[in-house]
Protein backbone atom coordinates (compact mmCIF):
# COMPACT_ATOMS: atom_id res chain seq x y z
CA UNK A 1 0.00 0.00 0.00
CA UNK A 2 2.82 2.32 0.92
CA UNK A 3 4.21 1.99 -2.59
CA UNK A 4 0.87 2.54 -4.28
CA UNK A 5 0.16 5.79 -2.41
CA UNK A 6 2.92 7.92 -3.99
CA UNK A 7 2.17 6.44 -7.41
CA UNK A 8 -1.43 7.59 -7.22
CA UNK A 9 -0.24 10.99 -6.09
CA UNK A 10 2.05 11.18 -9.09
CA UNK A 11 -0.82 10.47 -11.47
CA UNK A 12 -2.72 13.47 -10.09
CA UNK A 13 -1.91 15.70 -13.09
CA UNK A 14 -3.64 13.21 -15.38
CA UNK A 15 -6.72 13.24 -13.14
CA UNK A 16 -6.66 17.07 -13.20
CA UNK A 17 -6.64 16.91 -16.98
CA UNK A 18 -9.71 14.66 -17.04
CA UNK A 19 -11.45 17.15 -14.76
CA UNK A 20 -10.38 20.06 -16.95
CA UNK A 21 -11.76 18.33 -20.01
CA UNK A 22 -15.03 17.34 -18.42
CA UNK A 23 -15.72 21.05 -17.86
CA UNK A 24 -14.61 22.28 -21.22
CA UNK A 25 -15.04 21.58 -24.88
CA UNK A 26 -11.56 20.88 -26.10
CA UNK A 27 -10.56 21.65 -29.66
CA UNK A 28 -8.04 18.88 -29.77
CA UNK A 29 -7.00 16.10 -27.46
CA UNK A 30 -3.90 13.97 -27.78
CA UNK A 31 -3.36 10.89 -25.69
CA UNK A 32 0.02 9.26 -25.55
CA UNK A 33 2.27 6.80 -23.83
CA UNK A 34 5.99 7.44 -23.45
CA UNK A 35 8.48 4.87 -22.38
CA UNK A 36 12.24 4.98 -21.93
CA UNK A 37 14.43 1.99 -21.24
CA UNK A 38 15.25 2.08 -17.57
CA UNK A 39 13.41 1.89 -14.31
CA UNK A 40 10.43 4.13 -13.64
CA UNK A 41 10.43 5.68 -17.08
CA UNK A 42 6.92 5.09 -18.30
CA UNK A 43 4.37 7.88 -18.41
CA UNK A 44 1.05 8.60 -20.04
CA UNK A 45 0.86 12.00 -21.76
CA UNK A 46 -2.16 14.14 -22.46
CA UNK A 47 -2.24 17.32 -24.54
CA UNK A 48 -5.32 19.47 -24.94
CA UNK A 49 -6.05 22.73 -26.72
CA UNK A 50 -9.07 24.85 -25.95
CA UNK A 51 -10.20 28.09 -27.58
CA UNK A 52 -10.62 30.88 -25.04
CA UNK A 53 -12.05 33.84 -26.89
CA UNK A 54 -9.43 34.83 -29.43
CA UNK A 55 -6.77 32.96 -27.51
CA UNK A 56 -5.88 29.30 -27.34
CA UNK A 57 -5.38 27.66 -24.00
CA UNK A 58 -3.24 24.56 -24.01
CA UNK A 59 -2.54 22.00 -21.36
CA UNK A 60 -0.08 19.16 -21.34
CA UNK A 61 0.30 16.62 -18.66
CA UNK A 62 2.49 13.72 -17.85
CA UNK A 63 3.34 11.87 -14.72
CA UNK A 64 4.78 14.30 -12.16
CA UNK A 65 4.35 17.43 -14.27
CA UNK A 66 1.82 19.67 -15.91
CA UNK A 67 2.14 22.62 -18.24
CA UNK A 68 -0.32 25.35 -19.08
CA UNK A 69 0.05 27.64 -22.04
CA UNK A 70 -1.75 30.54 -23.61
CA UNK A 71 -1.27 31.64 -27.19
CA UNK A 72 -2.81 33.92 -29.73
CA UNK A 73 -2.26 35.34 -33.17
CA UNK A 74 -3.15 38.26 -35.37
CA UNK A 75 -3.97 37.11 -38.86
CA UNK A 76 -3.41 39.30 -41.92
CA UNK A 77 -4.51 36.71 -44.44
CA UNK A 78 -2.07 36.41 -47.35
CA UNK A 79 -0.03 39.35 -46.03
CA UNK A 80 1.16 37.47 -42.96
CA UNK A 81 0.53 36.87 -39.29
CA UNK A 82 1.90 37.54 -35.83
CA UNK A 83 1.69 34.91 -33.10
CA UNK A 84 2.67 34.84 -29.44
CA UNK A 85 2.55 32.29 -26.67
CA UNK A 86 3.63 31.68 -23.10
CA UNK A 87 3.76 28.52 -21.06
CA UNK A 88 4.44 27.61 -17.46
CA UNK A 89 5.38 24.09 -16.45
CA UNK A 90 5.29 22.73 -12.93
CA UNK A 91 6.61 19.40 -11.83
CA UNK A 92 7.74 17.54 -8.75
CA UNK A 93 11.34 18.08 -9.84
CA UNK A 94 11.15 21.75 -10.78
CA UNK A 95 9.52 24.36 -12.92
CA UNK A 96 9.93 26.06 -16.25
CA UNK A 97 8.79 29.11 -18.18
CA UNK A 98 8.71 29.64 -21.89
CA UNK A 99 7.67 32.52 -24.10
CA UNK A 100 7.69 32.79 -27.87
CA UNK A 101 6.66 35.23 -30.52
CA UNK A 102 6.87 34.96 -34.25
CA UNK A 103 5.47 36.29 -37.41
CA UNK A 104 5.72 36.90 -41.08
CA UNK A 105 4.83 40.10 -42.81
CA UNK A 106 5.54 40.61 -46.47
CA UNK A 107 9.16 39.61 -47.21
CA UNK A 108 10.25 39.18 -43.59
CA UNK A 109 9.67 36.41 -41.05
CA UNK A 110 11.08 36.38 -37.55
CA UNK A 111 10.70 34.38 -34.40
CA UNK A 112 11.92 34.84 -30.87
CA UNK A 113 11.97 32.30 -28.08
CA UNK A 114 13.01 32.46 -24.44
CA UNK A 115 12.89 29.61 -21.95
CA UNK A 116 14.12 29.02 -18.45
CA UNK A 117 13.79 25.96 -16.28
CA UNK A 118 15.51 24.88 -13.07
CA UNK A 119 15.49 21.25 -14.17
CA UNK A 120 15.88 19.38 -17.45
CA UNK A 121 13.02 20.43 -19.72
CA UNK A 122 12.52 16.78 -20.69
CA UNK A 123 11.54 16.07 -17.08
CA UNK A 124 8.71 18.60 -17.37
CA UNK A 125 7.63 17.38 -20.80
CA UNK A 126 8.95 14.23 -22.48
CA UNK A 127 8.92 15.90 -25.90
CA UNK A 128 11.35 18.62 -24.85
CA UNK A 129 15.13 18.59 -24.93
CA UNK A 130 17.19 17.09 -22.12
CA UNK A 131 18.63 20.48 -21.18
CA UNK A 132 17.82 23.00 -18.47
CA UNK A 133 18.68 26.57 -17.57
CA UNK A 134 18.31 29.53 -19.87
CA UNK A 135 17.72 29.27 -23.60
CA UNK A 136 17.30 32.17 -26.01
CA UNK A 137 16.67 31.88 -29.71
CA UNK A 138 16.22 34.37 -32.50
CA UNK A 139 15.50 33.44 -36.08
CA UNK A 140 14.80 35.44 -39.16
CA UNK A 141 14.17 34.92 -42.87
CA UNK A 142 14.19 37.57 -45.53
CA UNK A 143 13.09 37.18 -49.14
CA UNK A 144 15.53 38.90 -51.44
CA UNK A 145 13.21 38.17 -54.34
CA UNK A 146 10.62 35.48 -55.12
CA UNK A 147 13.37 32.87 -55.63
CA UNK A 148 15.97 33.71 -52.99
CA UNK A 149 15.66 33.73 -49.22
CA UNK A 150 18.27 34.53 -46.58
CA UNK A 151 18.02 32.93 -43.15
CA UNK A 152 19.72 33.67 -39.83
CA UNK A 153 19.46 31.73 -36.57
CA UNK A 154 21.06 32.85 -33.33
CA UNK A 155 20.97 30.90 -30.10
CA UNK A 156 22.30 31.21 -26.58
CA UNK A 157 22.16 28.69 -23.76
CA UNK A 158 23.30 28.84 -20.20
CA UNK A 159 22.72 25.41 -18.74
CA UNK A 160 22.15 24.26 -15.16
CA UNK A 161 25.89 23.85 -14.59
CA UNK A 162 26.37 27.50 -15.60
CA UNK A 163 28.08 26.63 -18.88
CA UNK A 164 27.22 29.14 -21.59
CA UNK A 165 27.07 28.23 -25.28
CA UNK A 166 26.26 30.25 -28.35
CA UNK A 167 25.18 29.24 -31.84
CA UNK A 168 24.72 31.04 -35.13
CA UNK A 169 23.73 29.84 -38.57
CA UNK A 170 23.46 31.75 -41.81
CA UNK A 171 21.72 30.20 -44.79
CA UNK A 172 20.75 31.00 -48.35
CA UNK A 173 17.89 29.22 -50.10
CA UNK A 174 17.38 29.23 -53.85
CA UNK A 175 14.00 28.06 -55.11
CA UNK A 176 13.77 26.72 -58.63
CA UNK A 177 11.62 23.66 -59.29
CA UNK A 178 13.24 22.42 -56.11
CA UNK A 179 14.73 24.42 -53.28
CA UNK A 180 18.46 24.25 -52.58
CA UNK A 181 19.84 25.57 -49.31
CA UNK A 182 23.46 26.40 -48.50
CA UNK A 183 24.74 27.67 -45.21
CA UNK A 184 27.43 27.98 -42.59
CA UNK A 185 27.08 27.69 -38.87
CA UNK A 186 28.86 27.58 -35.59
CA UNK A 187 27.56 25.77 -32.54
CA UNK A 188 29.57 26.02 -29.34
CA UNK A 189 32.72 26.81 -31.35
CA UNK A 190 32.19 23.84 -33.67
CA UNK A 191 32.01 24.91 -37.29
CA UNK A 192 29.85 23.22 -39.88
CA UNK A 193 28.46 23.64 -43.35
CA UNK A 194 24.84 23.19 -44.35
CA UNK A 195 23.35 21.65 -47.47
CA UNK A 196 19.63 21.27 -48.01
CA UNK A 197 17.23 20.02 -50.67
CA UNK A 198 13.46 20.23 -50.76
CA UNK A 199 11.16 19.25 -53.56
CA UNK A 200 8.13 17.34 -54.72
CA UNK A 201 8.72 13.82 -55.94
CA UNK A 202 5.48 13.15 -57.81
CA UNK A 203 2.18 14.57 -59.06
CA UNK A 204 0.41 13.60 -55.84
CA UNK A 205 2.58 16.10 -53.99
CA UNK A 206 4.89 13.76 -52.08
CA UNK A 207 7.51 16.05 -50.66
CA UNK A 208 11.03 15.31 -49.49
CA UNK A 209 13.14 17.65 -47.45
CA UNK A 210 16.68 16.76 -46.44
CA UNK A 211 19.21 18.88 -44.60
CA UNK A 212 22.77 17.91 -43.83
CA UNK A 213 24.98 19.76 -41.37
CA UNK A 214 28.53 18.50 -41.54
CA UNK A 215 31.86 19.62 -40.14
CA UNK A 216 32.91 19.61 -36.53
CA UNK A 217 29.42 18.38 -35.78
CA UNK A 218 27.18 16.24 -37.95
CA UNK A 219 23.43 16.07 -38.32
CA UNK A 220 21.20 14.72 -41.07
CA UNK A 221 17.50 15.52 -41.06
CA UNK A 222 15.09 14.08 -43.60
CA UNK A 223 11.31 14.24 -43.85
CA UNK A 224 9.06 12.60 -46.41
CA UNK A 225 5.40 13.67 -46.53
CA UNK A 226 2.63 12.26 -48.72
CA UNK A 227 -0.89 13.70 -48.76
CA UNK A 228 -3.43 10.93 -48.16
CA UNK A 229 -6.66 12.83 -48.90
CA UNK A 230 -8.21 16.28 -49.23
CA UNK A 231 -8.86 16.41 -45.49
CA UNK A 232 -5.23 17.38 -44.88
CA UNK A 233 -4.30 13.90 -43.69
CA UNK A 234 -0.70 13.00 -44.46
CA UNK A 235 1.72 10.17 -44.09
CA UNK A 236 4.90 11.66 -42.73
CA UNK A 237 8.17 9.91 -42.03
CA UNK A 238 11.01 11.79 -40.46
CA UNK A 239 14.52 10.81 -39.53
CA UNK A 240 17.27 12.62 -37.69
CA UNK A 241 20.77 11.24 -37.32
CA UNK A 242 23.43 13.17 -35.48
CA UNK A 243 26.94 12.87 -34.17
CA UNK A 244 27.66 12.71 -31.21
CA UNK A 245 25.38 9.75 -31.66
CA UNK A 246 21.66 10.40 -31.43
CA UNK A 247 18.81 9.39 -33.71
CA UNK A 248 15.08 9.89 -34.07
CA UNK A 249 12.67 8.05 -36.32
CA UNK A 250 9.10 9.27 -36.47
CA UNK A 251 5.92 8.25 -38.28
CA UNK A 252 2.71 10.27 -38.49
CA UNK A 253 -0.33 8.83 -40.21
CA UNK A 254 -3.86 10.20 -39.83
CA UNK A 255 -4.17 10.79 -36.07
CA UNK A 256 -1.39 8.47 -35.00
CA UNK A 257 2.09 9.71 -34.12
CA UNK A 258 4.96 7.45 -33.17
CA UNK A 259 8.52 8.44 -32.41
CA UNK A 260 11.46 6.23 -31.54
CA UNK A 261 14.56 7.92 -30.24
CA UNK A 262 18.08 7.06 -29.21
CA UNK A 263 19.78 9.65 -27.07
CA UNK A 264 21.91 8.02 -24.38
CA UNK A 265 19.12 5.46 -24.16
CA UNK A 266 16.17 4.22 -26.19
CA UNK A 267 12.72 5.75 -25.92
CA UNK A 268 9.38 5.32 -27.67
CA UNK A 269 6.44 7.73 -27.67
CA UNK A 270 3.11 6.83 -29.25
CA UNK A 271 0.29 9.37 -29.44
CA UNK A 272 -3.22 9.55 -30.82
CA UNK A 273 -4.75 12.91 -31.69
CA UNK A 274 -8.45 13.76 -31.76
CA UNK A 275 -9.66 17.03 -33.30
CA UNK A 276 -13.05 18.44 -32.31
CA UNK A 277 -14.89 21.68 -32.75
CA UNK A 278 -16.70 23.79 -35.26
CA UNK A 279 -13.81 24.08 -37.66
CA UNK A 280 -13.09 20.48 -38.68
Amino acid sequence: MAAIGPKIYRLLPIACCALFLSHATAQSLTFGLYGRLGPDNLTPTVEATLPLGDLDLSARLQRDALGLGLGGALEFSALGRLSYSARVSLGLVGWGLQAAAGGALGPLAANLEAAYSNTLRSRLWVGDEAEGGLKLGLGGRYRLDPRQTLGLQLGFKNDLAGIARGAAELSYALRQEQTYTFGLGVDDSRLYGLLGWRGELDEAGTLLEATLRAGQLGRLEAALTTPLDEELNNLKLHLTLSYPWAATLGVEVYSLLAEARYDNGFSLWIRYKLIFGGNP
Binding site: P51, G102, P146, T225, N279
Partner: protein, 217 residues
Protein backbone atom coordinates in the same frame (compact mmCIF):
# COMPACT_ATOMS: atom_id res chain seq x y z
CA UNK B 1 -46.38 68.48 -66.63
CA UNK B 2 -44.26 68.31 -63.46
CA UNK B 3 -46.13 65.15 -62.42
CA UNK B 4 -45.48 63.58 -65.81
CA UNK B 5 -41.80 64.46 -65.54
CA UNK B 6 -41.64 62.99 -62.03
CA UNK B 7 -43.31 59.78 -63.25
CA UNK B 8 -40.94 59.65 -66.22
CA UNK B 9 -37.90 60.05 -63.95
CA UNK B 10 -39.28 57.41 -61.58
CA UNK B 11 -39.91 55.00 -64.46
CA UNK B 12 -36.43 55.64 -65.82
CA UNK B 13 -35.00 55.05 -62.34
CA UNK B 14 -36.91 51.78 -62.00
CA UNK B 15 -35.83 50.69 -65.46
CA UNK B 16 -32.17 51.43 -64.60
CA UNK B 17 -32.51 49.58 -61.28
CA UNK B 18 -34.09 46.63 -63.03
CA UNK B 19 -31.38 46.59 -65.64
CA UNK B 20 -28.65 46.55 -62.96
CA UNK B 21 -30.41 43.61 -61.34
CA UNK B 22 -30.69 41.99 -64.77
CA UNK B 23 -26.99 42.58 -65.51
CA UNK B 24 -26.03 41.13 -62.12
CA UNK B 25 -28.21 38.09 -62.83
CA UNK B 26 -26.63 37.65 -66.26
CA UNK B 27 -23.11 37.91 -64.82
CA UNK B 28 -23.92 35.41 -62.10
CA UNK B 29 -25.46 32.94 -64.59
CA UNK B 30 -22.47 33.33 -66.90
CA UNK B 31 -19.89 32.92 -64.12
CA UNK B 32 -21.75 29.92 -62.68
CA UNK B 33 -21.80 28.10 -66.00
CA UNK B 34 -18.47 26.34 -65.54
CA UNK B 35 -15.18 26.60 -63.65
CA UNK B 36 -13.05 29.54 -64.79
CA UNK B 37 -9.78 31.26 -64.16
CA UNK B 38 -8.39 34.72 -64.74
CA UNK B 39 -5.26 36.71 -64.05
CA UNK B 40 -5.96 39.85 -62.10
CA UNK B 41 -3.48 42.68 -62.42
CA UNK B 42 -3.33 46.25 -61.25
CA UNK B 43 -2.54 48.22 -58.15
CA UNK B 44 -3.50 47.66 -54.54
CA UNK B 45 -2.88 49.74 -51.47
CA UNK B 46 -0.90 48.06 -48.70
CA UNK B 47 -1.52 48.60 -44.96
CA UNK B 48 1.32 51.15 -44.80
CA UNK B 49 -0.49 53.29 -47.37
CA UNK B 50 1.91 52.57 -50.23
CA UNK B 51 0.64 51.47 -53.59
CA UNK B 52 1.92 48.17 -54.99
CA UNK B 53 1.76 46.40 -58.31
CA UNK B 54 -0.42 43.35 -57.83
CA UNK B 55 -0.88 40.25 -59.91
CA UNK B 56 -2.73 37.17 -58.85
CA UNK B 57 -4.38 34.21 -60.42
CA UNK B 58 -8.01 33.64 -59.52
CA UNK B 59 -9.52 30.20 -60.03
CA UNK B 60 -13.17 29.51 -59.29
CA UNK B 61 -15.33 26.41 -59.23
CA UNK B 62 -18.91 27.73 -59.03
CA UNK B 63 -21.98 25.89 -57.82
CA UNK B 64 -23.14 24.33 -54.62
CA UNK B 65 -19.66 23.41 -53.43
CA UNK B 66 -18.13 26.70 -54.51
CA UNK B 67 -14.39 26.93 -54.21
CA UNK B 68 -11.99 29.73 -55.12
CA UNK B 69 -8.22 30.00 -55.06
CA UNK B 70 -6.23 33.22 -55.19
CA UNK B 71 -2.54 32.70 -55.93
CA UNK B 72 -0.18 35.64 -55.61
CA UNK B 73 2.46 36.47 -58.22
CA UNK B 74 3.07 40.11 -57.25
CA UNK B 75 4.04 41.91 -55.04
CA UNK B 76 7.22 39.80 -55.02
CA UNK B 77 7.10 39.57 -51.21
CA UNK B 78 3.82 37.63 -51.45
CA UNK B 79 4.74 35.34 -54.35
CA UNK B 80 3.89 31.76 -53.43
CA UNK B 81 1.23 32.76 -50.91
CA UNK B 82 -2.31 31.65 -51.68
CA UNK B 83 -5.83 31.77 -50.29
CA UNK B 84 -8.43 29.02 -50.76
CA UNK B 85 -12.02 30.01 -50.05
CA UNK B 86 -14.83 27.50 -49.57
CA UNK B 87 -18.31 27.88 -48.11
CA UNK B 88 -17.17 26.98 -44.63
CA UNK B 89 -13.56 27.99 -44.31
CA UNK B 90 -10.67 29.99 -45.67
CA UNK B 91 -7.15 28.66 -46.01
CA UNK B 92 -4.25 31.07 -46.01
CA UNK B 93 -0.87 29.71 -47.02
CA UNK B 94 2.25 31.67 -46.13
CA UNK B 95 5.27 30.65 -48.19
CA UNK B 96 7.91 32.16 -45.93
CA UNK B 97 6.85 30.20 -42.85
CA UNK B 98 5.32 27.23 -44.72
CA UNK B 99 2.13 27.57 -42.67
CA UNK B 100 -1.45 26.86 -43.67
CA UNK B 101 -3.84 28.83 -41.48
CA UNK B 102 -7.44 27.62 -41.52
CA UNK B 103 -10.20 29.93 -40.32
CA UNK B 104 -13.98 29.79 -40.43
CA UNK B 105 -15.23 31.75 -43.46
CA UNK B 106 -17.14 34.22 -41.30
CA UNK B 107 -14.00 35.25 -39.42
CA UNK B 108 -11.50 35.26 -42.24
CA UNK B 109 -11.48 38.94 -43.05
CA UNK B 110 -8.59 40.81 -44.48
CA UNK B 111 -7.75 43.86 -42.52
CA UNK B 112 -5.73 46.52 -44.21
CA UNK B 113 -5.81 45.30 -47.78
CA UNK B 114 -8.65 47.70 -48.52
CA UNK B 115 -11.00 44.95 -49.56
CA UNK B 116 -11.80 41.40 -48.65
CA UNK B 117 -10.24 38.90 -51.01
CA UNK B 118 -12.84 36.33 -50.05
CA UNK B 119 -15.45 38.41 -51.91
CA UNK B 120 -13.69 38.27 -55.25
CA UNK B 121 -14.70 34.73 -56.13
CA UNK B 122 -18.38 35.23 -55.33
CA UNK B 123 -19.91 37.97 -57.46
CA UNK B 124 -23.44 37.44 -56.16
CA UNK B 125 -22.44 37.73 -52.53
CA UNK B 126 -20.49 40.88 -53.30
CA UNK B 127 -23.36 42.53 -55.18
CA UNK B 128 -25.88 41.58 -52.51
CA UNK B 129 -23.95 43.68 -50.04
CA UNK B 130 -23.89 46.72 -52.33
CA UNK B 131 -26.41 49.24 -53.58
CA UNK B 132 -25.81 49.17 -57.33
CA UNK B 133 -26.33 51.87 -59.91
CA UNK B 134 -25.79 51.72 -63.67
CA UNK B 135 -23.60 54.66 -64.71
CA UNK B 136 -23.69 53.96 -68.43
CA UNK B 137 -21.65 52.19 -71.04
CA UNK B 138 -18.02 52.34 -72.06
CA UNK B 139 -15.95 50.94 -74.91
CA UNK B 140 -13.05 48.74 -73.90
CA UNK B 141 -10.52 46.73 -75.95
CA UNK B 142 -12.58 43.62 -75.11
CA UNK B 143 -15.80 45.24 -76.37
CA UNK B 144 -18.65 47.36 -75.06
CA UNK B 145 -19.05 47.26 -71.29
CA UNK B 146 -21.51 48.43 -68.65
CA UNK B 147 -20.19 50.74 -65.96
CA UNK B 148 -21.73 49.94 -62.60
CA UNK B 149 -21.20 51.73 -59.34
CA UNK B 150 -21.65 50.03 -55.98
CA UNK B 151 -21.96 51.55 -52.53
CA UNK B 152 -21.67 49.20 -49.55
CA UNK B 153 -24.82 48.76 -47.47
CA UNK B 154 -22.62 48.61 -44.35
CA UNK B 155 -19.05 49.49 -43.48
CA UNK B 156 -17.82 45.91 -43.19
CA UNK B 157 -16.61 45.63 -46.78
CA UNK B 158 -13.67 47.95 -46.13
CA UNK B 159 -14.25 50.37 -48.99
CA UNK B 160 -16.64 53.28 -49.62
CA UNK B 161 -17.32 52.87 -53.31
CA UNK B 162 -16.72 50.42 -56.10
CA UNK B 163 -16.85 50.75 -59.83
CA UNK B 164 -17.01 47.69 -62.00
CA UNK B 165 -16.89 47.22 -65.75
CA UNK B 166 -18.96 44.32 -67.08
CA UNK B 167 -18.45 43.01 -70.63
CA UNK B 168 -21.76 43.05 -72.50
CA UNK B 169 -21.11 40.30 -75.03
CA UNK B 170 -19.98 37.77 -72.40
CA UNK B 171 -21.28 39.12 -69.08
CA UNK B 172 -18.30 39.03 -66.74
CA UNK B 173 -16.22 41.61 -64.86
CA UNK B 174 -13.45 43.31 -66.84
CA UNK B 175 -12.17 45.70 -64.21
CA UNK B 176 -12.87 46.73 -60.66
CA UNK B 177 -11.94 49.91 -58.81
CA UNK B 178 -12.31 50.43 -55.08
CA UNK B 179 -12.07 53.73 -53.25
CA UNK B 180 -12.21 54.73 -49.60
CA UNK B 181 -14.38 57.46 -48.10
CA UNK B 182 -11.87 60.17 -49.03
CA UNK B 183 -12.00 58.92 -52.63
CA UNK B 184 -8.50 57.47 -52.38
CA UNK B 185 -7.83 54.51 -54.65
CA UNK B 186 -7.63 51.25 -52.68
CA UNK B 187 -7.51 48.88 -55.60
CA UNK B 188 -7.56 49.21 -59.36
CA UNK B 189 -7.65 45.76 -60.89
CA UNK B 190 -8.36 44.32 -64.28
CA UNK B 191 -9.34 40.77 -65.17
CA UNK B 192 -7.12 39.35 -67.91
CA UNK B 193 -6.78 36.02 -69.67
CA UNK B 194 -10.25 34.94 -68.61
CA UNK B 195 -10.88 31.38 -69.67
CA UNK B 196 -13.11 28.46 -68.89
CA UNK B 197 -10.98 25.72 -67.40
CA UNK B 198 -11.36 22.16 -66.26
CA UNK B 199 -10.59 22.83 -62.59
CA UNK B 200 -10.91 20.26 -59.82
CA UNK B 201 -11.33 20.80 -56.08
CA UNK B 202 -8.17 18.76 -55.58
CA UNK B 203 -6.16 21.14 -57.78
CA UNK B 204 -7.54 24.23 -56.04
CA UNK B 205 -6.74 22.76 -52.64
CA UNK B 206 -3.18 21.84 -53.59
CA UNK B 207 -0.70 22.83 -50.91
CA UNK B 208 2.80 21.75 -49.87
CA UNK B 209 2.29 18.46 -48.05
CA UNK B 210 4.61 19.44 -45.22
CA UNK B 211 2.96 22.78 -44.43
CA UNK B 212 2.25 23.33 -40.76
CA UNK B 213 -1.54 23.36 -40.39
CA UNK B 214 -2.88 25.88 -37.86
CA UNK B 215 -6.60 25.99 -37.12
CA UNK B 216 -7.95 29.26 -35.75
CA UNK B 217 -11.45 29.74 -34.44
Amino acid sequence: MKKLLAIAVLCLGLAMAQSVAEITRQVQTNMDRSPWEATITGKIQLPDGSSQEAEFKLQVIPGKEQLARVEFKKPAALEGNFVVISDKEVWNYLFLTNQLIIQPRAKARIEGLGFNLTDLGDFQELTERLTLRLLGEQNTPAGAAWRIQGTPKDASLGFASMEILVLKSDPRPLAITLRDSSNKLLADLSFNNFRRANLTAQALRKRPADAEVLRRN
